[in-house]
Amino acid sequence: MAAPIKLSVLPVGSSAVIREFPKTGNAFIRLREMGLLAGTVLTLVRTAPLGDPIEIKLRGYHLTLRKSEADHVLVEPTA
C-alpha cells in the first residue's frame, strides 16, 4: 500500500483513492458535493499549460481545481 500523498503532487495520468479530505472551508463543502469524498477514485488528467489548476476525472466527469485546494486533499495512489 502506497503512502498517502497530496493530490497536488499526484503524477499526471495516475489514479488514486481519496483518503483524507478537509472538514471545513468554503471550497471543501462544494468539492464534497461535487463528489470528492473519502474513498472516491479519481484520475489526474492533466495540469493546465501554466501548471495550475489541475484537471481530475471522477465519477465519470471532469473537474478542475487549483493546487491550493488540492494541497489539502490526501490521496493514495493505486497501482
Partner: protein, 708 residues
C-alpha cells in the same frame, strides 16, 4: 415570535385556480436551456429577479389537453447549498422563499444521463422538498455512445416518480414528457434515505423549530433543516429571510456539540447522500462499452496542451476579432447610412424647427451612433454563446486561470475581458458566468478599460494628427496603436489587482469548475440567446441612451445663434461650447482647450463621436470636408496666443485620456443593469475619468518638461 415568511402563503392549494407552475432545475451543462426552449418555444419572458442580477426566465408550454403550464427556468445549480447568487435564487425559489416568484407546484429535474451520479446529488436534495418531481434523463444518445446502458424502468421503480428518457436536442422524449406533465396527479417520491443516526435528532429538532419559529411549511421544513446542516446559507440574496434566533440557537448548539466530538456532520450528510446515490446508480447504470478515451478527451489533448493549447486559443480569438471587424463592417455602414437617410427624410418632410432638429440631430443622431455598434455586439454575443455551448469557454478559463489569478481573479473573467476589446457591453453582460459576486463586480469595473472599437477612430485621428502620413513608417503607427491597447490592458489588470485587495476584498478566490464534454453547438439556441441578449441591451440601455442623446443635442443646439450662423459658430456659443469653456481650466493642465472639451463632452454618446465633433468644431467652416481632411484642420488649430493646439504631445495625451476615461453611456446603462443601481456606474465613471486625468496630466507635464 413567528416571523412572516413568503413560505407561509398557501402553495399547493392554489394550483386549482391558476395554471400549474413547474420549476425546471438541473446542473449546469445538462441541456436545461435546450429543453426549456424546446418546451416553450418563443413563449418566453426574460427579466431579472428583483434585487439580484440573476436572470429570471419564465415560459409557457401546453399540456396534452392544451392547458397552459408555466415553466420557470431556474439557474443551473450543483447543489441547494448555494455558492453563488444564481444558485441562491434556485434554492430560494424551490423553497418558496421568494415573494416575487410563484412557489412551484411541481419540479422538473433534468439530469445529464452520461454523468448520472453527480447529477443525482441535486435531485436527491430536491426529493427532500416533498413536491412532485418528474425526472428527465437528457442526452440518452450520448450516454449510449459512451457505452452506458441506463435502465430507465428500474430508476422509475426505485424512486417512484416518472422518469423520462429524452434527447432535448432532437426533441426525442418531449411527447412523453408533456404527457407526464399533463397528469393530474403525480406520485411523491419513495425517497428512502436515512439521515446518519447521530444527525437525525438534530434534523427533527431544527425542522420543528423552523415550522414553529420561522413559519416554514411542514413540507419544506425538513429540507431546510438538512440544508442548514450541510452548509449555512452562506450566499444570501435579496428576498431571502434570515433565520429566527431560536432556530439559530439550536443550530449552533448542535454544531458546538459535534465540534467537541470531532464529528464532521456536513461531510457525513453529503457522504450518506452519495452512498444512497451510488446504490441507485449501481442498479440503474450498466457500463457495457469499454472505457478508453472519448472524443472529448482526444480534443482536450490538443486544446489544453501546453503548446497547442495556446495556439488554439490564439486562433479562436483571432477568428473572433477578424469576424467582428470584417463581418460587422458592412452592416455598421448600412445602419450609419440609413440613419442618415432617415434623418434626411425627416428633414425634408417636416417644417424646419426645433422639433425637427430634436428628432434628426438628437434622437436619430444619438441613438444611431449607438445602434451602429449593434452588429458588432450581436456577433460577439453569438461567439460567446458558441464558446459556451461547445464547452470551449471552460477550457479557455482553465488555460488562463493561472494568469488571471495573479490579479486575484479566476479564469472565468478572461472571456468577458477579452470581448471588451471589441465592445465592453457584451463583455459585461457575459460576466454572469462568474459565480463569485465580488469577482464579477471587479471584472465589470475594469472591463471598459480594455480598448474597445469605438476608441479606434479616435486613436486613428490622433495618430494621423500626431505624425505626418508620408514620412512615418506604418510600423510606428501600429506601434503607437499597440501601445494604447497595452496601456488599457495593464490598467485593467492593475485596477483588478487593486480592487481585489482593497475595495472588494473577498474570500480566497476559487476555481472549482466542471469541464463539460465538447458538444456540437445548437445554432438555434445560440441565435435565440444572441437575440435575447441584444434585445435586453436595447430595451434596458435604450431609454438611457435616448435620454442622454437628447440632453447632448440640447446642449449643442441651445441657446440659438443668430440666424445664418455657421454650425461652428452655433456650437461655439451653445451650452456645450460654454461647458467647454467652463471645463477649460480643468483640462488646460492636460494641454486641452475648450474646443477639445466639447469633444470630451459629446464623446459620452460614444467615444467615436469625438471625431465628428472635431469635424464640426474645426472643419465645418470650410464647408469642404473632402478636400481638407480633418487632420489638416486639426494641425491648423491654434490657441488664442498663436501656439499650435494639436502638438504631437497633446495628441498623445488625448489618446491616453481616451484609454482610461469612462465616456460611454451605453456601457454605463448596462453596468447599471448588471449591478442593480447607479452606485457602481458612478464609481466607475469617477475612478476611470480620474485616472485618465491624472495620467494625462503626468504625460503632458512630463512631456513639456522634457521639451516636447
Amino acid at each position: 415570535m413567528a416571523q412572516p415568511s413568503p413560505n407561509a402563503a398557501p402553495a399547493g392549494s392554489a394550483a386549482a385556480h391558476r395554471q400549474p407552475v413547474y420549476a425546471l432545475v438541473g446542473n449546469p451543462n445538462c441541456g436545461k436551456s435546450t429543453l426549456f426552449n424546446a418546451l416553450t418555444g418563443l413563449k418566453q419572458k426574460v427579466g431579472n429577479y428583483p434585487g439580484v442580477t440573476v436572470e429570471k426566465k419564465m415560459g409557457t408550454t401546453y399540456s396534452q389537453h392544451g392547458q397552459p403550464i408555466t415553466v420557470i427556468d431556474l439557474p443551473g445549480a450543483y447543489s441547494l447549498a448555494a455558492r453563488s447568487p444564481d444558485e441562491a435564487v434556485t434554492r430560494d425559489v424551490l423553497l418558496g422563499r421568494r415573494a416575487d416568484t410563484p412557489p412551484p407546484d411541481r419540479i422538473l429535474c433534468i439530469v445529464d444521463a452520461t454523468n448520472l451520479e453527480r447529477n443525482l446529488y441535486l435531485v436527491h436534495q430536491i426529493l427532500d422538498l416533498g413536491r412532485p418531481v418528474i425526472l428527465v434523463l437528457n442526452m440518452m444518445d450520448l450516454a449510449a455512445q459512451a457505452g452506458l446502458n441506463l435502465r430507465v424502468g428500474r430508476l422509475e421503480k426505485s424512486l417512484g416518480i416518472p422518469v423520462i428518457a429524452c434527447e432535448a436536442v432532437n426533441g426525442n422524449g418531449l411527447v412523453e414528457l408533456r404527457l407526464a406533465m399533463s397528469r393530474a396527479d403525480l406520485p411523491l417520491a419513495r425517497h428512502a434515505w436515512d439521515v446518519p443516526a447521530p444527525i437525525a435528532p438534530a434534523v427533527s429538532e431544527l425542522a420543528a423549530s423552523l415550522r414553529e419559529n420561522d413559519g416554514k411549511l411542514p413540507l419544506s421544513a425538513r429540507a431546510e433543516a438538512l440544508l442548514l446542516l450541510t452548509d449555512q446559507d452562506s450566499v444570501r440574496v435579496a428576498g431571502s429571510a434570515a433565520l429566527s434566533p431560536r432556530t439559530a440557537e439550536i443550530l449552533f448548539a448542535w454544531q458546538k456539540r459535534w465540534e467537541g466530538e470531532g464529528m464532521d456532520w456536513a461531510g457525513a450528510l453529503v457522504g450518506s447522500r452519495y452512498e444512497a446515490i451510488g446504490e441507485l446508480a449501481s442498479e440503474v447504470v450498466l457500463q457495457t462499452g469499454a472505457f478508453g478515451p472519448t472524443a472529448s478527451d482526444r480534443i482536450d489533448a490538443v486544446v489544453t496542451h501546453a503548446v497547442w493549447g495556446w495556439l488554439v486559443l490564439g486562433v479562436v480569438m483571432t477568428a473572433l476579432f477578424l469576424c467582428i471587424f470584417t463581418l460587422a463592417q458592412p452592416p455598421m455602414e448600412w445602419i450609419g447610412d440609413h440613419t442618415a437617410l432617415l434623418a434626411n427624410w425627416v428633414k425634408s418632410s417636416m417644417p424646419a424647427g426645433d422639433l425637427r432638429d430634436l428628432i434628426t440631430d438628437g434622437a436619430l443622431g444619438g441613438v444611431g451612433s449607438v445602434v451602429t455598434f449593434l452588429p458588432q455586439i450581436l456577433i460577439l454575443f453569438f461567439f460567446i454563446g458558441l464558446l459556451e455551448s461547445t464547452g470551449y469557454m471552460a477550457r479557455a478559463a482553465f488555460i488562463m486561470d493561472r494568469l488571471m489569478s495573479r490579479v486575484g481573479l479566476n479564469g472565468k473573467s478572461f472571456i468577458p475581458l477579452l470581448s471588451s476589446y471589441a465592445c465592453a457591453i457584451p463583455g459585461i453582460m457575459a460576466t454572469r458566468t462568474i459565480e463569485d459576486a465580488k469577482d464579477r463586480l471587479v471584472t465589470i469595473l475594469v472591463a471598459p478599460l480594455m480598448s474597445c472599437s469605438a476608441r479606434l477612430p479616435v486613436y486613428l485621428l490622433m495618430i494621423a494628427a500626431l505624425l505626418p502620413n508620408d514620412r512615418v513608417s506604418l510600423g510606428t503607427k501600429v506601434g503607437i496603436m499597440l501601445l494604447m491597447y497595452a496601456l488599457g490592458t495593464v490598467g485593467a489588470f492593475g485596477f483588478a489587482w487593486l480592487f481585489k485587495r482593497t475595495l472588494l476584498k473577498g474570500a480566497p478566490p476559487l476555481m472549482i469548475m466542471e469541464l463539460p464534454p465538447y458538444r456540437l453547438p445548437r445554432i438555434k439556441d445560440v441565435c435565440l440567446h444572441m437575440v435575447e441578449r441584444a434585445w435586453i441591451f436595447l430595451r434596458r440601455a435604450g431609454t438611457v441612451i435616448l435620454g442622454i442623446s437628447i440632453v447632448l443635442w440640447f446642449l449643442t443646439a441651445y441657446p440659438k445663434a443668430p440666424a445664418g450662423a455657421t454650425p461652428t459658430a452655433q456650437l461655439a456659443q451653445s451650452f456645450a461650447g460654454r461647458a467647454g469653456h467652463l471645463l477649460e481650466p480643468a483640462i488646460k493642465p492636460l494641454g486641452f482647450d475648450w474646443q477639445i472639451g466639447i469633444g470630451l463632452i459629446t464623446s459620452f454618446a460614444a467615444r467615436e463621436v469625438f471625431v465628428s465633433t472635431m469635424g464640426v468644431v474645426f472643419n465645418a467652416e470650410t464647408h469642404d470636408e473632402n478636400t481638407t481632411p480633418l487632420r489638416d484642420a486639426l494641425k491648423a488649430a491654434r490657441w488664442p496666443d498663436g501656439r499650435m493646439l494639436f502638438t504631437p504631445l497633446v495628441c498623445l495625451t488625448l489618446m491616453v485620456f481616451y484609454v482610461f476615461a469612462m465616456q460611454c453611456m451605453s456601457t454605463l446603462a448596462v453596468v447599471r443593469r448588471e449591478t442593480n443601481g447607479w452606485k457602481w456606474p458612478a464609481f466607475q465613471t469617477l475612478y476611470m475619468t480620474g485616472t485618465a486625468w491624472i495620467l494625462s496630466f503626468v504625460v503632458y507635464q512630463a512631456g513639456r518638461a522634457l521639451g516636447f
